[in-house]
């Protein structure tokens, strides 16, 4: 279980929900992972897969002002768009309401040692913020360029600006038109999440020697690789493991447990 701290509409149909995790068993997320979220009992039937926008462990301050040895408050944030029945119900929840949060599930974004570029489109920016923040924490002096494209209005941009060297925002156009990838090499890594046409345009634009990762979304029932409802065709039949890409003989990749993060070669 988790308790909602805030659930604010930050743009038309776009909500930022912060929940406090009060269950020790709910693990700490890595960038790229998601949770199965439900804010209701029996109906709708399924929980909703929502990616991690942010995660913080805040020390509780004791009455004398010290934080030493104090337990931490674990705050998990979701940035989500109202697209149907489940997210409509989530949007109606107010501060103090309980939500069920199972996870984290799925694989993670890769450890990036070199320069990082993030390209997000619409609500696809959601999983990129926690990655950006983690990258900045680990690599204070490295280059982090962020491109954010929106159809009608921008949101959450200021948060990205706090951690990036540059943030380029486009509203109503094609974010890929704003990208200058001349000079991109194997010393760059690109991560993209957004509508399929945008991700395809990103993949087409980035030179082959630059590692490029995509984060996918899919309808899911279980979130753990059991129902096979979320599979995507993977023509090369590759699977990401700790040892890198290997074939595993399966024709499909499961977005929930093989992904949601894939090297572009898997899905291109």
């Amino acid at each position: 279980m988790a308790v909602i701290h805030k659930n604010d509409e930050i743009a038309d149909g776009i909500f930022l929900m912060e929940v406090e995790l009060d269950d020790e068993d709910t693990g700490k997320p890595e960038p790229g992972q998601f949770y199965m979220v439900r804010g209701w009992d029996r109906y709708p039937l399924l929980s909703r897969p929502i990616s991690v926008f942010d995660y913080e462990e805040l020390p509780c301050v004791s009455p004398d002002g010290s934080t030493e040895g104090a337990p931490v408050t674990r705050v998990l944030s979701f940035l989500y768009q109202v697209v149907g029945e489940g997210t409509e119900l989530l949007a109606e929840l107010s501060e103090g309401s309980d939500v069920t949060v199972e996870g984290p599930f799925g694989n993670t974004f890769p450890e990036v040692e070199n320069r990082l570029t993030l390209v997000g489109g619409g609500i696809g920016i959601a999983p990129l913020y926690y990655l950006a923040k983690s990258y900045r924490r680990d690599h204070r002096d490295r280059s982090l360029k962020i491109y954010l494209g929106f159809a009608e209005e921008s949101y959450a941009v200021a948060l990205f600006e706090e951690v990036a060297n540059s943030v380029t925002v486009d509203v109503g156009g094609f974010i890929t038109d704003r990208m200058d990838v001349s000079g991109y090499s194997d010393q760059d890594t690109v991560v993209t999440c957004g509508p399929a046409p945008m991700m395809n345009a990103v993949m087409a634009k980035i030179p082959a020697q630059t590692k490029t990762f995509v984060s996918l979304e899919a309808r899911m029932a279980c979130g753990v690789g059991a129902c096979l409802g979320c599979v995507k065709e993977a023509p090369l039949r590759w699977k990401m493991t700790d040892e890198g890409l290997v074939t595993d003989g399966s024709v499909h990749v499961k977005v929930c447990s093989d992904g949601p993060v894939f090297e572009r070669e898997v899905v291109e």
Partner: protein
């Protein structure tokens, strides 16, 4: 005292709660939540002789209290199961059923023959998958055909065979009796009801395969009626399933005559659903001071 223990085809189950085929992977996917040994058992994802990629397009569609699926028996094939998966799961302290599908008679029989190489306790013969074009449900629609495939499978299998029945058969009781006469050791029902979805926004049929399998709490009263009918018509044991979500649901299926129950879709909504069912049944039996097995068929006897 374990008040939930049941026997099923000579197997001792610590409780009658079995996870349904297609909802529990191969037994390891949910191990992050709890030890599968807490379950009475589970049935594997449907296995076929050859690996199958499953269906294209949208595979899931949520409905009021229900779920349409069109997975299409995606699985790694029987050899991968026998050679790779079975060694990994065989020591789980729970009853494992191998669910077997097929596109034609020979593919059923060869898959079953290859399972003779391992000590799988029970084969769940799937003649009821609504999501494949060839085979699948076609074998479960008429008594003659169901009896014929059951008999042939029984002839080549060294393992007990539980036939999984389709609620889409016109004469379900006839199919059940035919399977019993052909030598089936047990029956499980119901597989999913055939349904469909049309997206009014796009004006298109949702599933590439047009029709899909319907499951979830919405089907429970239909499933309960069918389990009741079949239990009244055959003498072999029955595993009842279809929309079971709570311990009360599970108890109702057993009162209707099922020796065990399976949980499917409910496990998607709440991974801990089977444990809640087990806990609920335990508390009930404790409060009522009864052994669960004594309640099997109680509503009809």
């Amino acid at each position: 005292m374990n008040r939930l223990a049941v026997d099923f085809l000579g197997n001792h189950l610590k409780n009658p709660v079995v996870m349904a085929s297609g909802t529990y992977g191969f037994g390891t996917e949910y191990a992050r939540f709890y030890d599968p040994a807490e379950l009475g058992g589970f049935s594997t994802k449907g296995l076929t002789l050859e690996p199958r990629p499953g269906n294209s397009g949208i595979r899931l569609w949520e409905t009021p209290s229900g779920l349409l699926n069109s997975i299409g028996l995606e699985n790694p094939g029987i050899d991968d199961f026998v050679g790779r998966i079975w060694p990994e799961i065989k020591d789980l302290d729970t009853l494992i059923l191998a669910n077997v599908g097929g596109k034609d008679e020979e593919s059923y029989l060869e898959a079953v023959r290859r399972l003779n190489d391992i000590d799988i306790p029970i084969i769940e013969l799937n003649i009821s998958c609504p999501n494949v074009k060839a085979g699948g449900m076609a074998y479960g629609m008429e008594p003659d055909k169901a009896g014929e495939i059951t008999e042939k499978v029984k002839n080549v299998s060294r393992h007990p065979v539980m036939v999984k029945l389709s609620p889409n058969a016109g004469d379900l009781v006839g199919v059940a009796k035919a399977c019993e006469q052909a030598g089936a050791d047990a029956l499980s029902l119901i597989n999913t009801l055939q349904g469909m979805a049309i997206d009014w926004r796009t004006k298109k049929i949702v599933f590439d395969n047009t029709y899909a399998g319907f499951s979830g709490p919405a089907v429970k009263p239909v499933a309960l009626r069918m389990v009741h009918q079949v239990c009244g018509a055959v003498d072999i044991p029955v595993m009842g399933l279809g929309g079971i979500t709570t311990w009360q649901d599970a108890l109702e299926f057993m009162l209707a005559g099922a020796s065990c129950i399976q949980i499917g879709t409910a496990g998607f909504a709440d991974p801990y659903a089977p444990l809640a069912v087990i806990d609920g049944l335990e508390r009930y039996c404790e409060d009522e001071d009864v052994m669960l097995a004594d309640l099997i068929g109680k509503a009809v006897k």
